[in-house]
């Protein structure tokens, strides 16, 4: 189908909500960009390795029940609990949201208010991230997402905010749009987990102000049929930091895009991801980190374990603008293939216009180290268990990107449990 027809049809399946004029303006702007640019297709440079039709098609994907009502992986830690059910905020399952240092509204409420703080932020990073690479699935989200949260943090928040996306029904095509602003000197940890829907498009715009900290850990539901595209747009002011880690297990096609703009000195952005999948699994991390100021640091650590014909894609770019001296940029992407049928496609990119920087990128693709496997088994560890140890060891560098030790342990042990179950099934 030609690009324009497909886009028109897709658009016609949604309608713009009636909201405050600022919100309507943002949505129309996104819609206009989507109409003129069109949904992605295989000829687009950053869609060569992942089939966009999973996300584009009008027809809803097959229903699936595997990850229905999966409890949050984070349920045993002290947290502020927020629940979405089939794409909608569920107040009765969520904690009371009147908390010191935190302002939370759903966007369906916020976007009705003429003078809500998010008026100056909703859709802003999504819009600025459309150049140089178009991300029209994000435009689609800004135009039509009616659910999500507007979160403003004004203090250092000790308890993480945990958002669980329950998938209880035969739901697909859920759009969720969060706007998060972490004010000067404030900090917060946001945890996300759950299956969302059979097909989902989730977007998060994060504004990290001066000396603020944003920690983000995301665990994507583990249904084999899941189709998901996510966008994380972040803007960092001076002396600020962000860390984002994503665990992806199973799924049909998962694409996680990141656009991080470092707009102040002495800021840090660390992105990490661990993906494990087999059979029809296709997982894609597409990342754009822009260093616009001197003395900043960025890291990208992405690992994928692939089996039975699974596909992993990594497209990561570090842009160092003229004048962004003393930039420390690091990027590593690695695929571990457990058989000969799987593939890992990596496109690491560096574009540097400053002359006094440290930037490195590496990308490897390999199989399990047989010498290590023999070493472990020669000590009495059975083959399957030894393999799992090495798989977890491979993923460890990415998991290490999580700053909180207890969350790191939860992620590690959940991965281990899944592997043990896999042997039994």
């Amino acid at each position: 189908m030609p690009k324009t027809n497909l886009t028109e049809q897709k658009i016609s399946s949604y309608s713009l909500p009636t909201e405050a004029s600022w919100a309507i303006k943002s949505r129309k702007s996104a819609l206009n960009w989507l109409e003129t640019t069109g949904l992605p297709n295989r000829r687009d440079e950053y869609w060569k390795n992942t089939d966009p039709s999973y996300f584009n098609t009008i027809k809803k994907p097959e229903r699936n029940k595997i990850d229905y009502v999966e409890n949050s992986i984070f349920e045993n830690i002290d947290r502020i609990n927020i629940v979405f059910e089939d794409g909608y905020f569920n107040a009765s399952k969520s904690d009371e949201l009147l908390l010191k240092g935190i302002e939370i509204d759903t966007i369906s409420v916020a976007n009705q208010k003429d003078n809500h703080w998010s008026a100056n932020y909703f859709g802003v990073l999504e819009k600025s991230s459309q150049v140089p690479v178009e991300r029209t699935l994000a435009s689609l989200n800004t135009a039509f997402a009616v659910e999500g949260l507007a979160i403003r943090i004004t203090d250092k928040i000790d308890k993480p905010i945990s958002i669980t996306y329950l998938h209880t029904n035969d739901t697909s095509d859920v759009l969720i749009h969060h706007v998060i602003k972490i004010e000067k000197n404030a900090s917060v940890t946001i945890l996300e987990s759950g299956g969302v829907a059979s097909r989902s498009n989730c977007l998060m715009e994060v504004f990290v102000c001066e000396n603020a900290e944003f920690d983000h850990v995301r665990v994507q539901g583990r249904s084999h049929e899941k189709i998901a595209v996510t966008h994380l747009f972040a803007n960092l002011l001076k002396d600020s930091s962000m860390k984002s880690f994503t665990l992806t297990v199973n799924g049909k096609s998962i694409r996680n895009e990141y656009v991080v703009d470092i707009n102040g000195e002495n800021s840090k952005a660390h992105l990490g991801g661990a993906a494990v999948g087999d059979r029809g699994f296709s997982q894609d991390d597409t990342i754009f980190v822009s260093h616009n100021n001197p003395n900043c640091e960025s890291r990208q650590v992405f690992k994928k374990v692939l089996r039975n014909g699974a596909k992993g894609v990594f497209q990561g770019k570090i842009l160092v603008k003229d004048g962004a001296q003393k930039t420390d940029g690091y990027q590593i992407s690695q695929g571990l293939m457990l058989d000969d049928d799987s593939s890992f496609l990596a496109k690491p990119e560096l574009e540097i216009y400053a002359d006094d920087v440290i930037c490195s990128h590496g990308s490897t693709c390999g199989e399990i180290d047989n010498a290590a496997l023999f070493y472990l088994t020669s000590r009495g560890i059975p083959m399957a268990e030894a393999q799992d140890m090495l798989v977890l060891a491979f993923l460890n560098d990415a998991i290490e990107e999580i700053s909180d030790e207890s969350i790191r342990t939860i992620i590690g042990s959940r991965l281990k449990d899944w592997m043990v179950k896999r042997h039994k099934s």
Partner: protein, 251 residues
């Protein structure tokens, strides 16, 4: 304890013969040493006994504790009580030394039907044994062998041996890369484990190590077979005269 009969082995991928009929009987409590020039098949023998991939046994057998072991997987052999101290211990980033040791020990216990050790019980034992080998807590926490010096790697091998308490220990050139003090420390660790129920097969190039770990029997290996066996003084003979006389005699 370990009986090797006419063992013939070639490389799996190329028809290159490495072992040409090795015969070796090691009884409980004995310490045997194998010496021989480079390429004589010493390390291959240790790999084939412990179950490494890449070799094909074309003839012969090896029985350990009454079981034919050549068909068993490496972990099954280990659980029967066979242990190989590696010439080049493998670095495994991302796997903690403690986790590795505990998993190994508990896997073996499980396979023997013995109750697994709790984290606390394990910790107590490992700390004590590590102390004897001058392995500090920091080294135990690090990933397996990563960033270890040559001496630390070999001490870590002996620590594993001490924890797993195997019946048959094969030491593959454990002295290589060690200075005199490190070698003494490793030898002390080995000697502490000597008992009437535990046997050793010590593979080495040099007689030096055998000053510290005194063997009951010394074998000379060349061309994939044992060409001469004798007492501890055979090692001295090699040290003084080299292998050439022995090889000439054999040819």
């Amino acid at each position: 304890m370990l009986y090797i009969n006419n063992l013939n082995v070639e490389l799996e991928n190329e028809k290159k013969k490495i072992l040409n009929g090795v015969n070796l009987d090691i009884n409980a409590g004995e310490v045997h040493a194998i010496m021989g020039p480079n390429g004589s098949g010493k390390s291959t023998l240790s790999y084939v006994l412990s179950g490494k991939d890449g070799y094909r046994v074309t003839e012969g057998s090896a029985t350990f504790e009454g079981r034919e072991i050549l068909e068993l997987s490496p972990d099954e052999r280990a659980s029967l009580g066979l242990f190989l101290a590696f010439q080049y211990p493998v670095e495994i980033p991302g796997v903690g030394n403690m986790t590795f040791l505990r998993t190994a020990l508990n896997s073996q216990r499980k396979s023997r039907g013995v109750e697994e050790l709790s984290a606390a019980e394990f910790l107590k034992i490992v700390r004590e044994k590590a102390k004897n080998l001058k392995i500090d807590a920091e080294m135990l926490k690090r990933p397996v062998n990563v960033g270890f010096s040559g001496g630390e790697k070999k001490r870590n091998e002996i620590l594993q041996m001490a924890m797993l308490e195997p019946k048959m220990c094969i030491l593959d050139e454990t002295d290589s890369g060690l200075d005199v003090d490190a070698m003494k420390l490793v030898a002390e660790g080995v000697n502490a484990l000597r008992s009437k129920d535990r046997s050793f097969l010590v593979i080495t190039h040099y007689q030096r190590l055998l000053d510290h770990i005194v063997p009951d029997v010394v074998h000379i290996m060349a061309d994939g077979k044992i060409i001469k066996s004798g007492g501890a003084d055979l090692a001295l003979e090699v040290e003084n005269n080299g292998y050439s006389d022995l090889l000439a005699e054999y040819n």
